[in-house]
């Protein structure tokens, strides 16, 4: 029975079935299946989709569809983990958001889902985030990585401001910074002093692992 639920949950994610994955997650909780085991199975499914994307067999709508199905199930399972007082082993804490003046969220949210699936604790601040708020969150959550997104050329320089702010606060050395978004290039990332950039969501996951030395 347990295996059947897990198998179907995995299938729901692979088939982008949002309501199916949420109801299967609820069922898993009702059947008292170890939530860490459930999360592990979901992570495997989303990785499979990410790998398919990496191989060029799947496309963005597939990635986003699977990420949405995963997102529908994750809070249910996380709540159960919390209720049981157990803890998921985390690769590290990542603060994530789209910079001030920029309201684009699709890419950023996709990266958040994949990072969560990978085993990071992700604090998604949302869009249009001011430098002060990023810095405040870095302090509050004692984060390992700060990930910032900017789609527009006009807002990309905001990432530089956040880095400068972290430097002024004496926090820069303790944190790795990765950036992304349509307006970003490798050259720009180097120029503003970020630690890494990748143009794709699965690439961002690999980058995050690399930045914390867990490739």
């Amino acid at each position: 029975m347990d295996n059947e639920i897990l198998k179907n949950l995995r299938k729901a994610i692979l088939e982008y079935d949002i309501s199916g994955s949420a109801s299967l997650a609820k069922k898993a909780v009702e059947e008292k299946i170890d939530p860490l085991k459930v999360l592990n199975e979901m992570t495997k499914a989303i990785r499979e989709v990410g790998d398919g994307f990496g191989r060029g067999e799947l496309w963005l709508p597939d990635l986003v569809g699977a990420a949405d199905a995963m997102s529908a199930a994750t809070p249910i399972i996380e709540e159960e983990i919390k209720r049981r007082g157990s803890e998921r082993e985390s690769l590290g804490t990542i603060i994530l958001g789209t910079v001030f003046g920029d309201i684009h969220s699709i890419g950023k949210t996709m990266v958040a889902t994949l990072l969560t699936a990978e085993g990071f604790k992700v604090v998604d601040l949302g869009v249009d985030i001011k430098a002060e708020k990023f810095v405040e969150a870095v302090k509050k959550y004692n984060a390992n990585i700060l990930a910032m997104s900017a789609l527009m050329t006009m807002t990309a320089p905001e990432q530089r401001k956040v880095i400068k702010f972290l430097e002024d606060e004496g926090l820069r050395k303790g944190i790795k910074i990765m950036i992304g978004g349509g307006a970003i290039t490798d050259e720009f990332a180097k120029d503003i002093g970020a630690d890494g950039y990748d143009p794709t969501a699965p690439g961002a996951v690999k980058l995050a692992r690399k930045l914390i030395g867990k490739e």
Binding site: G56, W59, L60, P61, G101, I103, I106, G107, T153, M154, P157, K161, K164, G182, A183, T185, E187, P199, T200
Partner: protein
């Protein structure tokens, strides 16, 4: 007055009357049932006062059909636009098509094809090139580049506009960002030019306050408003062309309704700036054939609405001046021209919005010449049918080469490209195997050494422009939008012997 190119035949149409009616009905339904979100208190009030259903809790505006139809009727279908030099004025609308340069965030190295940040000198030089190109009628915003070295991002638009006004007397555009339109309007008025500024929706179905505030300023200044639907179909609009046309048109109509309510009769132009999504990278799929289909249908619908259109956006995905760039640009600009786009974007761009190069602009100008020739169509009359001449020449050994009729007509019928290689093999080998890129590079040097903007700004205009720039610098510095590091580099740039370079 710049004449542009007048199409003398029926435009390319791909929708049936029933399909147009269905899309129009769908658009009205979205406007009425779904509505749009407007992040602007004063816009919400204006809509409410004019019969829209406004939900202040989520800033959603639902538009009654009657108001929409009335505001569409208020838009002029054809109008005059004024450049700094009246010889470069235009009339937008009807069967006429004009061409405008595109833009990029970076320049490129023509040997390595790698992107690089342009300098102030390169920025001004590129505008000189665009001013000189015969078939480039408009020098728009962000053109040639979004900014240049040492200029803080918030100053990129005012500095760019100043450069365009200094080095070109063609019709100029400037866009909005962080309130810069207040300085743009002052600069345009100081030199007696009109401006076109966009009011861009944030798809799906949203207008942010900066777009609305800019629209109020531009409409009240009496300038031209370009209403943009910039969706990426599959991401921010439905992945189908029909669905994307509906959301895009709903956005544009909501914008023009606001413009007409602020000031009836405001000159607007509807822009199709939507692209399919590149489902690998998430970026717009620049150069995709769907852009041509979308644009053709868009033109057909907006012709019915009686509003001039802008589009035919010929951004290639290619990073090089190469075969791919050529076919991506040609297909989309040609489809735009054949289907009746009134202002088409083409000269200079590479790799979407990410690169621009003036040498590419020179090559594109030849392409525009060819498209323009096509639009002039075929004259059929006694003289062109040449029956008497055919009779006079008769069969071989007769020929037409030495005839006055040939001398009169061949140049009208053909388009003689300026930069394409059309040499014979022996000539080509002897001349060093030059291609169109080599020829365009040579033209680049020739233009820079000979071209002068006509007329240059007067001393009074120049000093006014500089004062407005200074005002903008102080404004943004006070607002904290120029960091001390940015200001340090910028100040050095302003004090350089090269400043302002014109």
């Amino acid at each position: 007055m710049l004449k542009g190119f007048t199409r003398i035949f029926k435009p390319l149409e791909i929708l049936t009357e029933e399909q147009i009616a269905a899309i129009h009905k769908g658009t009205l339904s979205v406007l009425k049932r779904t509505g749009l979100r407007f992040e602007s208190e004063r816009a919400l009030k204006l809509f409410k006062n004019n019969g829209c259903q406004v939900d202040y809790s989520n800033k959603r505006v639902r538009f009654p059909e009657g108001l929409v139809e009335e505001c569409l009727r208020m838009c002029p279908s054809s109008y005059h636009v004024g450049a700094r030099n009246p010889e470069n004025d235009m009339i937008w609308g009807g069967n006429t098509t004009y061409f405008q340069a595109l833009s990029g965030t970076k320049s490129i190295n023509l040997d390595t094809w790698e992107p690089k940040t342009p300098t102030r000198k390169e920025y001004y030089d590129a505008i000189t090139i665009l001013d000189a190109l015969e078939n480039n009628h408009i020098v728009p915003w962000y053109t040639p580049w979004f900014g240049f070295k040492n200029v803080p991002p918030v100053m990129a638009m005012p500095e760019g506009l100043a450069a365009r006004l200094r080095n070109s007397s063609k019709f100029i555009c400037a866009n909005y960002s962080m309130g810069c339109e207040q300085f743009n309007i002052k600069m345009a008025k100081a030199v007696g030019a009109e401006l076109r500024t966009s009011m861009a929706a944030a798809p799906p179905l949203t207008f942010y306050s900066d777009a609305v505030e800019s629209a109020y300023r531009i409409v009240n200044a009496g300038f031209i408003l370009l209403l943009v639907s910039g969706s990426v179909y599959g991401g921010t609009s439905p992945s189908t062309i029909a669905g994307s046309l509906i959301t895009g048109n709903a956005e544009i109509i909501a914008g023009l309704t606001l413009a007409q309510l602020i000031k009836p009769g405001t000159r607007v132009i509807a822009q199709d700036f939507s692209f399919p999504q590149n489902m690998r990278s998430g970026s717009p799929a620049f150069g995709d054939i769907a852009i041509s289909l979308h644009q053709t249908a868009f033109n057909q619908i907006w012709r019915k609405y009686g509003v001039p259109t802008d589009g035919g956006v010929s951004y290639p995905s290619s990073k090089k001046i190469d075969y791919q760039a050529a076919y991506e640009k040609t297909i989309n600009s040609f489809a735009g021209a054949l289907s009746g786009t009134n202002t088409i974007w083409i000269q200079g761009s590479l790799y979407g919005e990410l690169a621009f190069h003036p040498v590419q602009a020179i090559i594109d100008d030849d392409l525009v010449g060819m498209i323009g020739r096509f639009l002039r169509g075929i004259e059929v009359n006694d003289e062109t049918m040449a029956l008497d001449l055919i009779d006079e020449v008769g069969p071989i050994p007769g020929h037409y080469l030495g005839k006055a009729h040939t001398r009169k007509w061949w140049k009208k019928e053909q388009y003689e490209p300026k930069y394409a290689d059309r040499l014979t093999y022996p000539e080509w080998l002897k001349a060093g195997k030059k291609d169109c890129i080599d020829n365009a590079k040579k033209e680049y040097e020739r233009i820079l050494s000979t071209h002068k903007v006509a007329p240059p700004l007067t001393d009074k205009q120049e000093s006014e422009i500089e004062n407005i720039l200074q005002e903008a610098r102080e404004y943004y510095k006070k607002k904290g939008l120029i960091s001390s590091e940015e200001w340090k580099n910028y100040k050095k740039d302003l004090k350089s012997s090269n400043y302002p370079y014109s």
